[in-house]
Amino acid sequence: MKVTMTVNGATCSGEVEGRTLLVSFLRDTLHLTGTHVGCDTSQCGACVVHVNGRAVKSCTMLAAEAEGATVATIEGMADADGTLSPLQQAFQDHHGLQCGFCTPGMVMSAAALLAENPKPTEHEVRHYLEGNICRCTGYHNIVKAVLAASGQDLPAVAAE
């Protein structure tokens, strides 16, 4: 069947099967490979994208269910000239990534948090990112980056 959705502002169509996952459509059909597959079992959050403004795990949603939806992926976060968004820049400035595998999902989850709650507390950031697993950073610098992107003073983060 044919699906059509708006991805990062552009109208995109493609052929999918009933079982095609949204993440497969994004990566394999649209070649938007910034969205990662870590676990493929809805545990890790590497595949988080926004569907109609809400964070979802694209490995656990069927592409056909996004028919007509507005989808945002990591590729849409930076400006067209490559200038990083303030949230992405904060990840770089505060060493919120090492290997970078979890980063697209972390950024998309954090962006959803800041849209809902522009000045989250450290606890709220940690709680919101519960579904995003990072094997490298130990999380503290990710939490710092999100707090910095929200324009707040950085508290001393636990374990420092």
């Binding site: 079982r19 996952l21 069927l62």
Partner: protein, 262 residues
């Protein structure tokens, strides 16, 4: 995943018609079903998506005061829209999984699945809620029939869950940090005619009512009324996360905490 057809009906009537086909299965938020399809634990010929059916989404108050939640309403929407009506239930929804799971997962899917460690079944049972399907009303006490087993007939769709609102209530979940499900969770709800205590994550039979605690708390609604009490460890789950005795002990502790938080 094996191949299947996906249909996205816009009305309940169309969904019921689609479910009448052989090997059709309902798709709620897919947060449980899609992983099981990937593991080839299910092989439906047709998936009938319920989340686009407007009449199955949303929260309202019934004439009798009950909070009525559409079967395809996400956990995130329950957390937002039920907060003013039944705070303990909204808080439970806010504690399920993580934000992305809550943005897709639905109350109907959770209650249909009846995972022995899921959160909603405890609220449904402790509130004496009514499961409304396309064919009938089912009382919570008749609905849960053991681990992953319910009174639902093949093809039956949960359209709504109706919760009588208690005077006081709280849900305390002892979270299993890897899965974020309840290692054990207790929902306590106090109504004019008595207290109901429902336990999830603990028993082999799935969610159950702890009647000894209900009797003691109905006589006196205070943690001290159940001091030192715990249900029998017989029939409790033993797995790598905890023994049956540990879970039985947790039930006592969490019930006392829930009474204090209510």
């Amino acid at each position: 995943m094996y191949a299947f057809d996906l249909v996205r009906p816009a009305t309940l009537a169309d969904a019921v018609a689609a479910m009448a086909h052989d090997e059709a299965q309902a798709l709620g938020g897919g947060q449980t079903l899609i992983p099981s399809l990937k593991a080839r634990l299910a092989s439906p010929a047709t998936l009938v998506s319920l989340t686009g059916i407007a009449e199955m989404v949303g929260v309202c108050r019934g004439d009798d005061g009950a909070v009525c939640i559409g079967g395809a309403t996400t956990h995130a929407q329950v957390a937002r829209d039920v907060a003013a009506h039944y705070p303990a239930l909204a808080k439970l929804a806010l504690g399920i999984g993580d934000p992305a799971v809550r943005n897709r997962g639905t109350i109907g899917g959770s209650v249909a699945n009846n995972d022995p460690a899921a959160c909603y079944p405890s609220a449904v049972l402790a509130s004496g809620a009514t499961i409304v399907t396309n064919t009938r009303h089912i009382a919570a006490d008749d609905y849960f029939q053991g681990m992953f087993t319910t009174a639902l007939e093949p093809g039956e769709i949960i359209t709504e869950v109706r919760f009588p609102v208690p005077m006081q209530a709280a849900y305390i979940k002892f979270e299993q940090p890897a899965s974020r499900f309840a290692l054990t969770g207790v929902f306590v709800a106090r109504y004019a005619d008595g207290v109901r205590v429902a336990v999830t994550g603990a028993a082999e039979q799935g969610v159950f009512r702890w009647s000894d605690a209900e009797a003691a708390l109905s006589a006196q609604f205070a943690a001290s009324a159940i001091a030192g009490m715990a249900p029998d460890a017989d029939g409790m789950i033993t797995d790598l996360h905890g023994t049956a005795a540990y879970r039985a002990h947790l039930v006592g502790v969490l019930t006392r905490r829930a009474v204090e938080a209510a």
